[in-house]
């Protein structure tokens, strides 16, 4: 946990904050879903970075779950919005 990692986490927080604003203000439902998709991807990167800071190898499994599963929920939302399923 040195200055460089603090800098990295701050930049990531800025990106997360902008996507969160889009989630709150997006005019339509697809906008909000896209914002949540973006936040998911950013958070996977954050989890790997935090695992590096905490120096635990086994924490990477949580990021692996996200990278494999996170698209299922968004696909469910998308299939409802396009009136399929």
């Amino acid at each position: 946990m040195n200055a460089i990692t603090i800098l990295f986490l701050s930049i990531i927080c800025l990106g997360l904050f902008l996507s969160f604003l889009r989630m709150l203000s997006g005019p339509t439902a697809p906008d909000r879903a896209v914002a949540v998709d973006t936040m998911t991807t950013i958070i996977v990167a954050t989890l790997v970075l935090v695992a590096f800071i905490l120096e635990r190898y086994i924490y990477l499994d949580v990021a692996l779950v996200y990278s494999l599963i996170s698209f299922v929920g968004l696909v469910a939302l998308a299939r409802f919005l396009e009136k399929g399923f």
Binding site: F8, I11, L14, D37, T38, T41, Y57, L60, E82
Partner: protein, 109 residues
Amino acid sequence: MYYLGVVVTGVGVLFLCLGGIGLFRFPDVYNRVQAGTKCTTLGAFATIIGVGIMEPTWFWKTLIIALFILATNPISSHSLGRAAYKSGTELAEGSVVDMASEFEEYSEE
């Protein structure tokens, strides 16, 4: 080796932030998909691989996380874009061309 990892991670983190900025500034859903889910794909890829370079024993696990992100993210963004187009979201003002109505004719063949 460590400094190479720091540089790669830094580039990835910058792209994550740029994805957020693009998502916030672009005018309609389609452009937001462009910025939001794909700048962050490259950003997440570079960040995770950079961590793997910094800590060489973690490399294989980080590589497979990055590959899964690279493989699953296009599917979800394609589905969201298709949902926006099928549910009739309008293009932003200033768009040049919209050939979606011509494309509908192919589906009936």
